[in-house]
Point group: D3
Chain length 242, copies 6
């Protein structure tokens, strides 16, 4: 892997980046890539069900707990560049100001690849909105006429969509099956930071094995044990079949 790669990950809620791309993130960091993580919200309203079962729970306290979990998980994956933008979730409002913020972040980080939510995600309206938001920002970031001082245009980034929780009813197609065998342990450690979501830890562990099976079947390569799946937004462009 070319260590000059810039990778930008945009996660709608606190833990999405771990379940859906923790292995890929750790792998890119391990190989020297420059990885930036943007977390748009703490997922206070939509993705902290269990925390709200605690008597006397408050918004501030949920944020505090999630901030700690995020920090630990990011540590396991080796993430050093991370921002939490603290948008309200469920429904997430993606205003013009926020679009400008995202365009500037893309221009600043000049990503070769962006990992974020795809355009369809049954049961999760925020994910769908974020997928469209990041896509539009990536297009605007390339346009000379969309001018923000100090943020010159970038090349069009390649967008890769996270696997949604229920893939088939979200019309998800696995265009990329990324081998994460070498960093799966890190992903597992990161997942275990979200203690209140035991059922998801088990779920995404099983997923990684299933995708590993698919990787072996498609490629005939038996070294693949764990994998993550992504959709792609554009065709592959380049010089080799792969």
């Amino acid at each position: 892997m070319d260590s000059n790669v810039n990778l930008l990950v945009v996660s709608a809620h606190a833990a999405d980046f771990v379940w859906r791309s923790g292995g890929a993130i750790a792998k890119y960091i391990k190989h020297g890539a420059n990885v930036t993580l943007i977390i748009l919200s703490y997922g206070v309203r939509g993705e902290s069900n269990d925390l709200w079962n605690i008597e006397g729970q408050t918004v501030e306290n949920v944020k505090k707990i999630r901030r700690e979990e995020i920090g630990q998980a990011a540590g396991h994956l080796g993430i050093t560049q991370m921002e939490i933008w603290d948008y309200e979730d469920y429904h997430m409002k993606l205003t013009d100001e926020r679009m400008e913020q995202m365009v500037c972040k893309i221009r600043e980080t000049a990503p070769h690849h962006i990992l974020t939510h795809g355009f369809k995600d049954a049961f999760n309206p925020d994910h769908e909105a974020v997928g469209k938001f990041v896509f539009d920002a990536s297009v605007l970031s390339t346009s000379n006429g969309v001018r923000y001082d100090g943020y010159p245009t970038t090349k069009q980034a390649r967008l890769f969509g996270f696997e949604p929780h229920q893939s088939e009813i979200s019309d998800f197609k696995p265009d990329v099956i990324m081998d994460i065998t070498e960093t799966y342990e890190q992903k597992e450690a990161a997942m275990n930071c979200f203690k209140a979501q035991k059922h998801l830890i088990e779920y995404y562990g099983a997923k990684a094995k299933l995708r590993g099976n698919h990787a072996r079947r498609v490629s005939g390569n038996n070294q693949y044990q764990y994998a993550e799946a992504f959709s792609r937004c554009f065709p592959y462009v380049g010089g080799e079949f792969n």
Copy 2:
């Protein structure tokens, strides 16, 4: 590009491999890959319209002309391993014996990639039949229980589908846009060997430019001038976003 790559190209009729993948073939050969071309038919019935306008034309003479054209075109692309299986076209019959022949050829050549027709091609029933035929052969070639003496099983090859003549009504999606800038001249020379099909030479020349434009727009890389598009049959499996 890794020069140990084995590439198998299966062309339903005489000239399909040139229009649809001539640039990619020449590029792989140039970089040292091991390329085998199988042409299933001379396209006597379905793809030699102009030759049949000549008074007194015969099947044997059409084959002779097409054989010469193929030879010249293959020469321009640098192809040295080529077989013409001389099936009748329009409709092409893909019998059990022919399936065995194809399975054995796949096992013999052990291709990493196969380029052939996709599953849908409006206006061309042969192309659709060949797409399914090669796909099935590639699956059978991996199975231990499908036994032909002297032909041990291979790993599952990656299949890439040619762009059909009218892409949208054939439900074609360009999953791969292959840069062929460095070998476009060879492709042009190869296309010019099919003198009776002037309108196609012009057509596929224009196509290569349009796909070059798409390549630039998607990647932001302005070096891409000419390209060919392919669909893929399976997800990409591997270790890098690209």
Copy 3:
């Protein structure tokens, strides 16, 4: 569950019925339904890879081993009515005579539901052929003019499609998520009869848990632990939303 239900299961190869519907079969039998299993082939050529790794292996011996495995697995599920039609697989030929055989079997068993392969299954041409074959047979079985002595017409059966191994690239949509919590142990015991396919035992065990997670998420019912998914061929027709 109404104990007067007739259920027909048609499995292309030896073990398909276990991986894809073992829990549902066991459940229907447990509740008194009348279940018939038709296995079209031993899967000698296409689905016995590991057995062929044994030195000196023969077709007859593979069949013998698979027959024993099938018998044990069927026992764990409680199946008492089973036929193995011993068609050759990879490719399976579905002739007119075999169509008549299937039409007569459908008329004889008068199934309310048929479980079999869906119309699309990436990597498995036999499964696709069988899906279409059983569907056509179910239509012919209702027609008064398709006459076989001793086999009067039946009502149109409801067809449910097995989940293929790689669901998304087979365009599989889970129309039915069947809770199999009460019979999952039986399914596990049945899966374990196919010792040579350890990776599949693990795979379908993980699948059952993931589908259980989906069942809980969609329904809000936390009792669902294990599930199997099926597509449906026709709309639900009846008197209640469910």
Copy 4:
């Protein structure tokens, strides 16, 4: 039918609930279910064409007429719990406040099933907006962190989509064909309350017969005479094929 079923119907305009689900509503009420009807608008701007042909027509008068028609129609169907929220239509604005209103209504009524517009409806932008609005509300209503005093969370309701006026160009698939033979007379009486829309009364009468034909053909059950079709938003989850 279990008489403890809670059914919530959300109708974008005055008469949608009658054309698209009048038979199902009457049937559920007849069998003891607890049915609540929410009508979001009087359809003054977009669905009262004929009333506006009357000289000197006013918004208030159109509302008055439609209110009377709704009342009569609801009476024929046996509806006792009904609210008209009087949103402006064409375009309907579905603000955050309205989302809160809908979430609270779903939590209050705790529906097992929700009948409302599907996600696509050619010629009717309001229907599409309402379909998405109710879906999102149903998801938010299950989340512990979306907190409104006095409205505790509910389980995820099953959503069923109305058949749009022109089904095929709206990508509508009839996942459920509901037999309404026993309540068709009530539906007919309800339809006749909308005197100004004669062409629709005839249209939806013919539709009910066509869907009855489909019901017979799919099931082989000749008792079905009239039916209504619905799409489903999620897979069926449960314990029986049906």
Copy 5:
């Protein structure tokens, strides 16, 4: 309408041409077009259910009855050029010889338009096979190298697909809604010739009204009372939006 139009109709079974295109046929004949009807089978096995309920029924007698019905119906529509090819139905075998027969018929009649079955028709495998068969024949008929003495090539005909019985689950899209108001009475008279199929007469009568409603809604033209829907196989090519 240009009276030099050649229209070819290919009907899989005895009555398909009436239910699905009777109005369009009568209209074209009325305006002077040159219409040829090919009926591939009597529908003895698959589409004569009611006749087989008669004690002592025979294949020959069913054919005789259907031949009379066809003759009467064709008379009502004004058809003078008709052939019945008497293929066996359910399953219909479409051999190479039959392909040649169809290619020659297309070349002989040189149709501008062909009306026949579309590529997908749930519940009717014969219709699907015929749709593909006629399409392929239309392509072969244009090819100079597919040579049959006395049958010179034709231009590519435009293909229009009949509406299948259950449109949505057959993925049917109404690309063309043909006004048949002026010939609907003839269609009704033709439908009434198939006395044993009362339910279909009622069904296709209701369909014609529904499609008339769609025609009015899409066009704003209130003269349209009855219509038939067709899919198209290719784009419209020409000089005007319409």
Copy 6:
């Protein structure tokens, strides 16, 4: 062509109407149709990349340059009725006031056909928004209850969607291939007015030839040299196959 035809063209940015429909516009004008062009924005931010490369560029200056280019291009096509609404682009905001403006314009011009952007256009969020906006306006313009003084309702216009830049990944299907041979020179002259976009001039020139090839292949009519492709929003409704 009937010279009483009203054609409305709605272009999101300065030059869209030329690239995507210049030939069709010129043809309609040549044959006496009444053509109105609405340009929603100058494309200052999203579609004037090259102009912003000039040192000291300003928004006002970009508008001035584009206004001149538009004027010249419109002149070549023969357009006499044109309005530039000067919305800001990238992102274009389509407010209620703008919807009213569009509804009134549709009612004023009473178009038989509207040419505008389709619903999906990869890489161009503005195009997608405008497609939906014009569609909704066309529906609202027919409704009696949507009342604006001086703007009586119109019949539903037929909507035709422009071909997007990258057709396949925008899910574009060419429903209409419009022959523009007789006005291609005018289109070429109009394209040449946008000097800063040389690559697009070449691109859309090549496109016109490719679509001409498709037109010949589909129709068998060799007179077609240049064409433009459009999708259609509704079925064709009328009295003839074409």
